[in-house]
């Protein structure tokens, strides 16, 4: 360990506090006893769809299309999850299967 126990504990507390801040801030800016402005309420309705799209891209951020293996394992495993989920709607199969497929590809194939 590089850090002492106290230093590691402090680091964890600071990370926890900063995480909490990002989660609580919107509720502090728009308190519950006041009516949420219609514009913010509109955002609350449409944002969830956009955010999941954003998160998927976020998950692929370290993939490099210019260097081997060109993101092929990510693409194949991603398509597998979409296809299998549309077909069966079985979460274990989609998530478990996709993850195992990806692990096999990055460990043995690519």
């Amino acid at each position: 360990m590089v850090l002492s126990t106290t230093e590691a504990a402090l680091t964890i507390l600071v990370i926890a506090a900063a995480t909490l801040l990002t989660r609580v801030l919107p509720f502090l800016v728009f308190p519950a006893h006041r009516k949420t402005p219609p514009f913010v309420a509109y955002l609350g309705k449409v944002l969830p769809f956009a955010i999941i799209g954003m998160l998927i891209v976020y998950c692929f951020k370290s993939v490099s299309p210019q260097a081997w293996p060109y993101g092929i394992p990510e693409l194949l495993a991603g398509l597998f999850v979409i296809g299998v989920h549309k077909w069966k709607h079985n979460l274990l199969l989609s998530i478990g299967g996709g993850t195992v497929l990806y692990m096999i590809m990055v460990q043995y194939v690519f």
Partner: protein, 230 residues
């Protein structure tokens, strides 16, 4: 009433159970490999409770001591949580004394679940949402403990196990896509984020993507045929 809400909530959390067990185990294994035992895994998953940030936290724990850097890196990595709060302002109004925990536990996965499910008519929505959030954190803690213990007992190659998170988001995306009448927000989310990733690079794109999504959705207000009040 609470028991009924718990029983009703459980099946909805199964996708997160899958994702969090995989991911939590991956986190626990990695943390153990850096010399941090089960107590550390438990405290981190209890207090921080943010999947991707806890992986970043492992890096911070094996780097020189720098509290300010840890603080600002966390703000950057978790800035996307601001969106979740914005989307939950109205729904958490009914949470009463459970609201502090609802805000604390608003992870990517809990948010996406809460935003895509609705409590059945005979279930108290306040407790239904609370148990979804609580069960999810339980899975996360369990996964990180299992991984940390397993990592100290056996060694196995866990490379690629973090794809569980990606798979979970793809599944949620597919489900949302099938429910949504208007696909413009979902497409915007992907296209704008991908463009920002190409333009600004992996370290800086997320804030630009958030800004781009906010601006474009603002401009489309009134054109998406979304009911603004319910």
């Amino acid at each position: 009433m609470k028991r009924h809400a718990l029983k009703t909530a459980f099946p909805y959390t199964l996708p997160v159970l899958m994702g969090y067990l995989f991911l939590g185990i991956a986190f626990g294994v990695l943390l153990n490999s850096k010399g941090f035992n089960t107590a550390w895994a438990f405290v981190m998953s209890l207090l921080i409770y943010a999947g991707s940030m806890q992986f970043v936290a492992i890096n911070l724990l094996v780097s020189p001591f720098q509290l300010a850097a840890a603080f600002f890196i966390t703000l950057m990595v978790n800035a996307r949580h601001l969106f979740y709060g914005l989307s939950m302002l109205d729904r958490f109004k009914a949470s009463g004394r459970l609201k502090p925990y609802m805000m604390f536990s608003l992870t990517d996965e809990t948010f996406s679940l809460l935003s895509s499910v609705k409590a059945p008519d005979n279930v108290n929505p306040k407790w239904f949402m609370f148990f979804i959030a609580l069960l999810n954190q339980g899975y996360w803690i369990a996964g990180s403990l299992i991984g940390n213990i397993a990592g100290s007992l056996i060694s196995f190659n866990s490379t690629g196990i973090d794809f569980a998170m990606t798979a979970l988001f793809i599944v949620i995306f597919v489900e949302q896509w099938e429910q949504a009448k208007n696909h413009v927000p979902a497409i915007l989310g992907i296209v704008i984020t991908a463009l920002c990733l190409i333009l600004f690079g992996a370290d800086r794109f997320i804030l630009f993507a958030m800004a781009g999504i906010l601006v474009s959705l603002s401009l489309l207000r009134g054109k998406l045929h979304v009911k603004e009040s319910e």
